[in-house]
């Protein structure tokens, strides 16, 4: 206990002195420049530029433009990594089944006060999550952010109600796997949609193309009924939200299986060999 107090004091003193030395120029003045760097300036200019229709993303949100257009393939493979992580946990927990509830479902979980508050807030969290994802091409946010926010809802319900309550509402592992597959298929289709349109109309097109380019005149529309949807960005955000929210929910459902059920299954499984 005493050594930890000494440790905290030493760390505090070290950081304070080190910050003071840097602030007084002890390591020279290597502060970041105040002006925007050239690369960032280019991105800011290109992201929404209606005057140069063949060299823009039509999205005022530069981060989403970078994530799903300029380096779209990179984000696709990030999604694949997440997909593999979830597949790994599903494979580890194959065959595990949760037992039936021993008492009435309403008797599980926390007090009625907490449950009522949760019932109100769950709707609000879902609304915020949808807004973050579907406005991802206009304001800060995007598919992953919206999906992670939406994944808080099943976690809250799992802790405050019970996993049995979640299952009676249709949130089971297989349902979530189906939703996640829907999201991933959507992401894959969106990545190829412009290429498919190009092939069908006999024009040049690229994988992961969004807006028309000088040598590839096809692309998804930037506006839908007067509203900016930035071509593929809106669809990527929508499908990514489904994939991420369902993926996180699968992990929570697997983690919430009681240990005794897992051991029971493992014993039965071991008996066969």
């Amino acid at each position: 206990m005493m050594s930890r107090v000494v440790g905290v004091i030493v760390i505090t003193l070290f950081i304070t002195v080190f910050s003071l030395v840097i602030a007084l120029g002890g390591l020279g003045y290597v502060l970041p420049p105040e002006s925007v760097r050239e690369l960032a300036r280019q991105y800011l200019l290109i992201a929404y530029n209606p005057f140069n229709k063949t060299f823009t993303v039509f999205s005022p949100e530069v981060v989403t433009s970078i994530v799903w257009d300029f380096r779209g393939l990179d984000t696709l493979f990030e999604t694949v990594v997440f997909y593999l992580a979830i597949i790994g946990s599903v494979a580890l927990a194959r065959g595990f089944k949760s037992s039936k509830p021993e008492k009435d479902i309403s008797q599980y979980g926390l007090s009625p006060i907490v449950k009522t508050v949760t019932r109100v807030t769950v709707g609000m969290i879902l609304a915020v999550a949808t807004s973050i994802a579907l406005h991802g091409h206009l304001t800060p946010g995007g598919g992953f952010q919206g999906g992670a926010t939406a994944a808080v809802v099943p976690l809250l319900v799992l802790v405050i109600f019970s996993r049995y309550y979640l299952e009676t509402r249709g949130v089971s592992k297989n349902a979530m796997l189906a939703i996640r597959s829907f999201g991933l298929i959507g992401i894959g289709l969106t990545a190829f949609i412009v290429l498919i349109i190009g092939l069908m109309s006999g024009m040049n097109a690229y994988v992961f193309q969004n807006q028309p380019k000088p040598d590839a005149p096809v692309g998804l529309p930037a506006l839908f009924d007067g509203q900016i949807i930035s071509g593929t960005l809106w669809f990527f955000n929508l499908f990514e939200m489904f994939a991420v929210a369902a993926g996180f929910t699968i992990v929570f459902l697997l983690l919430s299986i009681p240990e005794r059920d897992v051991f029971k299954y493992l014993k039965e499984e071991g008996g066969e060999y």
Binding site: R4, I11, S19, V63, P140, A148, T149, L155
Partner: protein
């Protein structure tokens, strides 16, 4: 006092607290308390990202690092022991 200097001062103070919280989380033997220290550090980082004008990171950091990550670790601790042994 200029507002910029004030914000930089607040950021420095928050950063200092986050380092202390990280140190306590690493040295703590009670795993539940360690997760709470880690969550304090995550909350401070969320504020820091906001003050550094990175709202995209804040939006992903708040649900993941403040909500989902401590919850998953607490789930796992419930399945093992609460105290770390030497």
């Amino acid at each position: 006092m200029e507002p910029d200097i004030l914000i930089i001062g607040i950021m420095g103070f928050l950063g200092l607290i986050s380092v202390i919280a990280t140190y306590l989380a690493v040295t703590e033997k009670n795993l539940v308390r360690a997760v709470i220290y880690s969550a304090i550090q995550s909350t401070i980082y969320a504020f820091l990202y906001f003050l550094l004008m990175a709202p995209d990171i804040v939006l992903v950091y708040v649900p993941v690092a403040v909500g989902l990550y401590p919850a998953i670790i607490l789930f796992l601790i419930r399945k093992t022991e609460h105290e770390e042994r030497d």
